[in-house]
């Protein structure tokens, strides 16, 4: 019996493929996309103003009207996107020299050590790292202690800049690794050719290296940007400036699911736009 089944699958490769993919594809389409779909449906459903219960299939655009009529939502969306963009730019600015050193200058031994050093923080828990930053940033924290001789004190846990700092720290490895891989892919002879044709270090970087790193930078930025835009724990724990995620969380906690769902369209649309641009820059060939 077993032999006959395996024999049949051997004769029908497409059926084999379907049987193998049925599980994972089913999981993605039903459990993953399905739940996302239901979540987004909530945005178009009304809420009983008396009981506060969501009324499925009672279509309305109230939730969107509520968001559009309140400028706070706009401020929060702009703040989130702005910080995410800033985190991405900062991570790229740090990743370029670090990855360049790793890929082009460091000895094989140092390169291995640096790769471990870059990936090591990924082994630690996300929450542990954020709490570590809290102890650094709080008014009487490590940073405050270090700068107290100069009459300064720690930034405390309210500054919006804290979110920028901590998010950059968290997502930096995701930028360094693709940029490092991108640099490794540039043949040495291209750099020699540029020098041979009269290009000094800076010109070679600007004209030969950087343009070829754009796909790698776009790939890294997908991580830094999307992870930043979706984060709500960092802004909650190290600052008092809310992100989109905090508003969604707060609204669902209060039971206003339609508003939460409607607001979650913002990061989704931003990310779709971002991915389209990244694809044009060749990011997906660099992942």
């Amino acid at each position: 019996m077993m032999r006959r089944i395996t024999g049949w699958f051997n004769q029908h490769p497409r059926a084999t493929l379907r049987a193998l993919l049925a599980g994972p594809l089913g999981w993605i389409s039903i459990v993953y996309l399905g739940s996302l779909f239901i979540l987004l449906m909530h945005a178009f459903w009304s809420k009983d103003s008396f009981t506060g219960k969501v009324e499925p299939f009672n279509w309305t655009l109230d939730a969107f009207a509520q968001i559009l009529s309140n400028p706070v939502y706009f401020t929060i969306a702009a703040r989130t996107i702005g910080i995410a963009a800033l985190v991405t730019i900062t991570a790229a600015a740090i990743a370029l020299p670090v990855a360049y050193y790793m890929a082009r200058i460091a000895s094989p031994r140092k390169r291995a050590l640096l790769l471990v050093a870059v990936t090591m923080p990924l082994w630690a828990s996300y929450l542990v790292k954020i709490y570590a930053w809290r102890t650094i940033l709080q008014t009487n924290g490590l940073l405050g202690w270090a700068i107290s001789p100069f009459g300064l004190e720690g930034p405390g846990l309210t500054e919006i800049a804290n979110s920028w700092l901590v998010l950059t720290y968290l997502w930096l490895p995701y930028m360094i690794l693709p940029v490092y891989a991108g640099l490794e892919r540039i043949p040495n002879s291209l750099l020699e050719a540029s020098a041979d044709l009269g290009g000094r270090g800076w010109i070679t970087f600007r004209r030969v290296i950087f343009p070829q790193l754009i796909p790698a930078l776009a790939a890294g930025s997908i991580f830094t940007f999307s992870l930043s835009i979706g984060d709500y724990i960092v802004p909650d724990l190290v600052s008092d400036a809310k992100f989109i995620g905090n508003v969604i969380y707060d609204n669902s906690a209060l039971g206003s699911f339609p508003v939460a769902a409607a607001f979650s369209f913002v990061p989704i649309l931003v990310m779709i736009g971002y991915l389209l641009v990244a694809r044009r820059l060749g990011a997906f060939e660099s992942l």
Binding site: E192, A195, D196, R200, Q212
Partner: protein, 357 residues
């Protein structure tokens, strides 16, 4: 183009040495002296690992010599970085910038050296015309064939009008037909621009075809420098005799039996005549009897390996004037007389000993 300075030196290498790794490793280039004249097509010929590419890379400035000096038109450039040397390189893998168009690639050197846009456009157009790639300006390197990429690499180097052009096995990646076409074209272009070409190759045929002079490299040293005819007709060492063309190398007792005196000798397979055992031998000729052991049919020629009656083997090639392959193969086992003119027996020097590092 007039070459008034034909006796002037383009390049002078003085005791040039390069060692990679720790001090006990053998030197990649072991103290070479070389003078290349202005306007020459000069080849550095040798097997892989013989130091020819490392020498070229030191002239270009990509490698720093461990010892020795490099002079470019009389100026010491040993300590200058590549971008301050008036030489350009054509790379083995072409090294075209993949994100730039053909015109941008060719114009890169001019742009970096701040040549104005209109002059740049004219010179790029002119360089592309010279390598017969007019109309390809807007293409990307990925859209070109290997031979076309090669031409772009050449145009990109020539457009800067360097005093010396360095070519690192530029035709190595092309197939045979295209390589032969490009050999002729490169030589023609060199005649047109009058720039000194230094050409690295491991292909002795290529070096013989193209060069005005060549240097044969072996184990980090130069074994012989000369014109193609000099090096081919009068190889000085057994390495050169064996590497440039093929040779029967004869030494010791065999040499005494064949040529009457002991020593190191070489004779080219095409200089030996294959005949009947009863053939007459002239006064200025040498001769030996043997039997055909193996026949290798090569199309234009046939190669015979003869076991000599006095012991040992000699290889003989004969042009296929009338033989067909079947006739040639039917000769196996036949008794023959080998005859050669004494002037074609080359006396070789002992191979130079590699000095301990």
């Amino acid at each position: 183009m007039e070459r008034t300075a034909s006796t002037a030196l383009a390049i002078r290498l003085d005791g040039l040495t390069k060692k990679f790794g720790s001090g006990t490793d053998a030197a990649a280039v072991a103290g070479i002296d070389l003078e290349i004249r202005d306007g020459e097509f000069f080849s550095l010929l040798g097997p892989s690992g013989s130091g020819k590419t490392t020498t070229l890379r030191m002239i270009a400035g990509f490698e720093r010599p461990t010892a020795g000096r490099i002079y470019l038109h009389g100026d010491d450039v040993t300590d200058l970085p590549p971008f301050d040397r008036d030489v350009n390189t054509v790379f083995q893998d072409y090294a075209l910038f993949p994100h730039m168009s053909v015109a941008e690639n060719v114009g890169y050197g001019l742009e970096v050296r701040k040549v104005g846009a209109s002059e740049r456009a004219t010179r790029v157009k002119e360089a592309l015309r010279m390598v017969r790639l007019e109309g390809y300006d807007a293409r990307r390197p990925a859209q070109l064939s290997g031979g076309q990429r090669q031409r772009v690499a050449l145009a990109r180097a020539l457009v800067n009008r360097p005093r010396v052009l360095l070519l690192d096995e530029p035709l190595g990646a092309l197939d045979l037909k295209l390589r032969e076409e490009m050999q002729i074209e490169l030589k023609a272009i060199q005649g047109e621009v009058g720039i000194t070409f230094i050409y690295v190759t491991h292909d002795q045929q290529e070096a013989l075809t193209m060069s005005d002079r060549l240097a044969v490299f072996n184990r980090g040293r130069i074994e012989q420098i000369g014109t193609p005819a000099e090096v081919y007709e009068h190889p000085k060492t057994s390495f050169v005799a064996g590497f440039v063309g093929s040779s029967n190398l004869v030494a010791g007792e065999a040499a005494r039996a064949l040529f009457g005196t002991p020593g190191r000798f070489a004779i080219r397979p095409e200089k030996i005549r294959l005949g009947e055992p009863t053939d007459k031998v002239g006064a200025d000729e040498g001769s030996v009897l043997g039997r055909i052991k193996t026949v290798v049919y090569l199309g234009a020629d046939t190669r015979y390996i003869i076991s000599l009656d006095i012991g040992g083997e000699l290889t003989v090639t004969q042009q296929n004037l009338k033989e067909s392959s079947m006739e040639a193969h039917s000769a196996e086992g036949r008794a023959v007389r080998l005859t050669w003119r004494r002037v074609h027996v080359l006396t070789l020097a002992e191979d130079p000993q590699v000095a301990p590092a």
